[in-house]
């Protein structure tokens, strides 16, 4: 879907960057079900297993030795819940088992996660990190130092598109967004969390975008590359999708 160095793995919300030999994911929100259960919604646990299954497949097919988590590895703002700790522990254990080293770019949900740097041997970057020509940041705030980067990679938005099937029912498909921001390539990662339904970028207005980056960027000029039913398909620009279903900007 993208040229050259970045490969979007078919049917998965995962990108592979060859020059870094690294996978990229965003917004796993580990521990989500456990935290919801404590609020009275007893969601069966399915998210972690779903993520590790996908990462296992991705690592095997690409031979990647690292994974960059582009923010929001966990869900709670106020603390690290025991449910989150357990899943974090299992997640990192799994990666170690398949020989993939994790790096975390902190997201807005990742408070207090530093205390696990030592025991888990986790690389953590506070705001943003430049690896090679790629600047990784979560997306809740604008990136600070875009100077050395050719491509910006962010999460946070949980982008999706709404497409109507022939009888008028909307299907929501999570998607990558690919476009530009301040003269550089911009890649917005879909959420890898099982439960995140995503924000429909083609039916919502620009003001409704979560990330200040997308409120500034030319969102209608971005291409939506959707994932669903086992494959990854380029749906064209958000603007075209918006027009096709006549939603106001």
């Amino acid at each position: 879907m993208l040229d050259g160095d970045v490969e979007l793995l078919d049917g998965l919300p995962i990108a592979f960057i060859k020059s870094l030999n690294s996978l990229v994911i965003a917004d796993p929100h580990l521990g989500y079900e456990g935290v919801m259960a404590k609020r009275g919604v007893f969601l069966p646990k399915i998210n972690l297993k779903n993520i590790t299954d996908m990462l296992g497949m991705a690592a095997k097919s690409t031979g990647a030795k690292a994974v960059i988590v582009d923010g929001d590895i966990k869900n709670e703002f106020s603390d690290v819940d025991i449910e989150e700790f357990n899943e974090l522990y299992d997640f990192i254990g799994f990666l170690r088992g398949i020989g993939v080293a994790p790096t975390l770019i902190k997201g807005n949900h990742d408070n207090f996660v530093e205390r696990y740097r030592e025991p888990f041997n986790l690389r953590i970057y506070g705001q943003e990190a430049l690896f090679g020509s790629y600047l990784f940041f979560h997306g809740e705030e604008l990136p600070r130092e875009v100077g050395g980067a050719q491509m910006l990679v962010m999460g946070h938005e949980h982008p999706a598109i709404g497409v109507a099937n022939e009888v008028g029912r909307m299907e929501r498909l999570r998607c990558f967004l690919h476009g530009s921001y301040e003269g550089r390539e911009l890649l917005v990662m879909p959420a890898i969390n099982y439960f995140a339904p995503g924000t429909e970028v083609n039916t919502a207005t620009r003001r409704e975008a979560l990330s200040p980056v997308l409120r500034r960027a030319d969102i209608d000029g971005m291409r939506a590359i959707a994932i669903g039913f086992g494959s990854t398909i380029d749906f064209g620009t958000v603007g075209e999708l918006r027009k096709a279903w006549r939603y106001k900007r």
Partner: protein
């Protein structure tokens, strides 16, 4: 053994079974025993389980209570009456609880007065106390509850939900140890739904806690089969229904009923004339008696009728509306005015059908069909001052389908043929709740708990594997070991086969979330293009919408597109015909039995009419449509007046002349047609008379099959007398394809087809929320915070997705499908019908018509149907009728 008693006891035998002071009080207050009392006094004094069905005003409550009161005064006189609960009275209606509480004071005070007078100072010497009554519902204050704990009332009046809470209050349970009698009132309101299922488990748990059974007394209005209600009341012991004596006094009040058509030509009379005639007839009935009760079926209809009666006849404050959307206060006020006799007329949707005492009613008028024989009998039974009076009822109908339906219905009522109900079987969500409740009282052996559960009739053949699956679910075995602390509501040890309570907080969750009635709200309707708010619809109505359905809101037409948790998105659909009437979710579906009766009537009458038709021409009938005498006699055997006879005859004749065939109970007629002015739409009309719940399932199944063959989408309209599939222009259903479809359905797994078909619908999304809430998988109240319905809905959608990924047979999902298949639809009977179609026991026939045949008119205009607002539908009907008449040269 369950046994229906035929012969009442004598007055001596009945009164002889009572305490002498109670007998004296009864003699002073009543001239004679009512029919149910002639059975019940003696039976209850002999400690038999008794189910009493009788109409209102037949002394039903006293027939259940007096022997109990008598026994308790025996105790009092012997100085044995302690501060303990001896009798629990349970009713589903809080309002009724207050009535009963007040009404019990009268006999209790009366009897005690007599005792005081007769025994004088002995009363003090021997410390003879009166029998006490207490009430405990959701409205009871903490202070009153505490007082009841210290000094429990001898007779406790309560609701099913409050009983369930009491069972889990360790302290209060001690007061229930001496319960001898349990009375369940309004059993017809409980036996057919999950509230009743919940209660049946509570009763078995109560029996288990006190270590013995108690006398069970059930009371209710007419219902059928009475045996089913009796099994529900008494439950099972040793694999058999426990003993119960049935006292069926349902028919002790005579019925005086008839169907009235306000005009003789129901097709060509103009709107205003029909409306005027209808209100005139209503006015006549109202003026002829002191108090009249009118039922309209829908809330909007109620408001319109009240408005019109006030405007046309200056009734002023002597007339009032009563329906579910009015505030509690205004409803109570109307009930109060009725009791006092100061209202001339009350108009109700369905809300005054049953329950609370509303005083003496002279006449009952039903506007439009109540759709079930049982219901019509219950409504009409509201009239007549005493059991000796005749219950007078009139049904006013405005179209020919309604006319036939109501005539057959009243005929069935006069023959005492009711439609049947079923107690929901093996509802896993209600059981889950009780298993959590049970875990608080002790540690259970799995076998012992399973046995207890099977004592309740709704679970008497519960599969052990389902019980185990629920234990696994409740123990949180669907998540890893370390999270069960949070997810698990019980602990369950597979090795020792034991389970019990888990955690401190579970009990609070249980108490705050107990019950079976789902939270519901209105859903906003939004124009998807403009984002503008249009209005709101009931959530239940939303579950009835399928993609592409067109409905009216605020007088305009909209096409349903999609929905989010609390919003429904629509587009303008001004050029389309509505496919679903706005009251669809409000009005009760036509019952299976009644539909069958209508089918049989159609078959018999069309046979008679057929003889007068030769070569598509009317033979031997004068032009002025005089009804031949054999046919007149046949129609007049139904309770209809003259004008209606002509209308019925005309209807059948037109159908036979036009289509050559009248669909009936042994012939599924499938009619392929289009509507003259809109030839784009092709209609395939299935004249399937099996009741709406069966049609709901059938229509989906036929649509699935047809869609596969035509490879494009198909619109569906379901109604009581059939269903209509719309196909695209140029498409055609051939007789051989129809036969093939029927063969495929008869040999296929239709339950599986339906499961796939409804998987993505609003219906399953909403019902899943209800079931998940009852199963404590999502909480409605958490740590004292009410969780909004929108939030619940959002969460339950995530939940469904995840649960399905784990196991498509997850108990909560399994129960959702069961509820939809057996309670929303009637899949078991739909399967029966399909089998009969397959074997040819029910024949099928495909015909092509240039315009819809007369019997199809009601089906293709169903979306327009609104009982009181007929203008558009009438015009459309007249149009269709003209097209038909042109072709048959009428």
């Amino acid at each position: 053994m369950i046994e229906t008693l035929e012969k009442p006891f004598t007055e001596q035998e009945s009164l002889g079974s009572l305490n002498m002071y109670v007998r004296e009080w009864f003699g002073k207050n009543f001239a004679e025993l009512t029919p149910p009392q002639r059975f019940a006094f003696k039976l209850i004094s002999e400690s038999s389980n008794v189910l009493i069905t009788a109409p209102t005003g037949s002394g039903k409550t006293l027939s259940g209570f007096l022997s109990v009161i008598s026994k308790l005064f025996d105790y009092a006189l012997a100085g044995k009456l302690e501060n303990k609960v001896y009798c629990i009275y349970i009713s589903p209606l809080r309002a009724l609880n207050n009535d009963v509480y007040k009404n019990l004071q009268r006999p209790l005070d009366g009897v005690y007065e007599i005792i005081k007078r007769e025994l004088g100072v002995e009363v003090i010497k021997r410390n003879i106390r009166s029998v006490s009554v207490g009430i405990r519902t959701g409205d009871t204050t903490q202070k009153e509850r505490h007082a009841q704990l210290v000094k429990p009332p001898n007779i406790l009046v309560t609701t099913p939900e409050s009983l369930a809470i009491m069972l889990n209050s360790q302290k209060f349970v001690e007061n229930l140890g001496s319960v001898e009698y349990v009375l369940v009132d309004e059993i017809h309101e409980l036996a057919n739904n999950k509230r009743g299922v919940h209660l049946s488990l509570s009763l078995e748990r109560l029996a288990d806690i006190i270590g013995r059974d108690f006398v069970r007394i059930g009371m209710g209005a007419t219902l059928y089969p009475v045996d089913e209600a009796a099994r529900f009341l008494v439950g099972y012991g040793h694999g058999e229904p426990r003993d119960c004596k049935i006292v069926d006094a349902s028919w002790s009040k005579r019925l005086g009923v008839r169907v009235v058509s306000p005009v003789s030509d129901m097709i060509n009379s103009d709107d205003k004339k029909v409306e005027d005639a209808m209100y005139k007839e209503l006015d006549r009935v109202i003026k002829s008696g002191r108090t009249t009760l009118v039922f309209t079926n829908t809330r909007s209809g109620t408001e319109r009728v009240v408005f019109n009666l006030k405007r046309r006849f200056k009734y002023g404050e002597a007339i009032a509306a009563h329906h579910g959307s009015l505030s509690r206060e205004s409803r109570l006020e109307v009930e109060d005015l009725l009791k006092k006799g100061s209202l001339k007329c009350a108009v109700s949707s369905t809300s005054l059908e049953l329950g609370i005492d509303i005083g003496a009613i002279d006449n009952v008028v039903l506007l439009g069909s109540p759709k079930s024989v049982t219901r019509s009998v219950q409504r009409i039974g509201r009239s007549g001052h005493s059991f000796r009076a005749v219950a007078k009822g009139e049904m006013i109908v405005l179209n020919r389908d309604d006319l036939i339906e109501c005539a057959v219905m009243l005929d069935a009522a006069l023959r005492h043929r009711l439609d049947s109900f079923r107690v929901p079987q093996n509802a896993l969500d209600v059981l889950a709740q009780h298993m959590v409740g049970m875990s608080f009282t002790k540690k259970w052996r799995v076998d012992e708990a399973y046995e207890l559960v099977r004592h309740a009739y709704p679970y008497h053949d519960l599969d052990r594997s389902d019980f185990i699956a629920l234990l696994d679910y409740l123990a949180g075995n669907y998540v890893g070991l370390e999270s069960r602390r949070v997810y698990g509501k019980i602990w369950y040890d597979k090795d020792s086969q034991m389970f019990g309570k888990r955690g401190m907080y579970t009990k609070v969750i249980y108490m705050l979330n107990l019950g079976t009635i789902p939270d519901e709200v209105a859903v906003d309707v939004i124009n998807s293009k403009t984002g503008k708010w249009i209005g709101s619809i009931e959530e239940e109505f939303l579950t009835r919408l399928r993609e592409g359905d067109v409905f009216t809101l605020g007088g305009r037409l909209y096409r349903f597109e999609r929905s989010s948790s609390m919003r429904c998105y629509v587009a303008d659909a001004s050029s389309s015909a509505p496919t679903i009437p706005p009251w669809f979710s409000e009005q009760l579906p036509l019952s299976y039995e009644l539909a069958n009766d209508i089918g049989a009537f159609r078959r018999e009458l069309s046979g008679l009419v057929q003889r007068h038709i030769k070569d598509g021409r009317i033979d031997s009938i004068p032009k002025r449509l005089r009804v031949p005498s054999a046919i007149r006699t046949s129609i007049k055997s139904l309770p209809v007046e003259d004008k209606a006879t002509n209308a019925i005859f005309g209807y059948f004749m037109e159908q036979l002349l036009f289509a050559g065939v009248v669909p009936n109970d042994r012939l599924l007629l499938v009619e392929q047609t289009s509507v003259g002015d809109n030839p784009e739409d092709r209609y395939v009309v299935f004249h399937s008379l099996f009741g709406r719940r069966v049609n709901d399932a059938l229509s989906r199944l036929f649509a699935i099959e047809l869609r596969e063959r035509l490879e494009h989408d198909i619109g569906i309209m379901v109604s009581d007398n059939g269903f209509v599939l719309t196909i695209a222009k140029g498409e055609r259903l051939s007789a051989s394809t129809l036969g093939e479809i029927i063969r495929d359905l008869a040999s296929g797994d239709v339950a599986d087809m339906l499961r796939l078909n409804i998987r993505n619908t609003e219906l399953i999304k909403r019902r899943f929320r209800h079931v998940a809430a009852r199963s404590f998988m999502i909480l409605r109240n958490y740590k004292g915070w009410k969780i909004s319905v929108g939030k619940q809905q959002l969460n339950s959608q995530l939940l469904f997705k995840a649960a399905e990924a784990i196991d498509p047979n997850f108990p909560v999902i399994k129960e959702t499908y069961r509820e939809i298949f057996e309670e929303v639809m009637d899949l078991p009977r739909a399967i029966e019908v399909i089998a009969k179609l397959g074997s040819g026991e029910i024949a099928h026939r495909l015909i092509d018509t240039p315009v819809p045949s007369p019997f199809a008119h009601g089906l293709v205009t169903f979306g327009h149907a609104d009982v009181m607002q007929m203008r558009e539908r009438r015009m459309y009907l007249q149009h269709l009728h003209k097209l038909v008449m042109k072709r048959i040269g009428g």
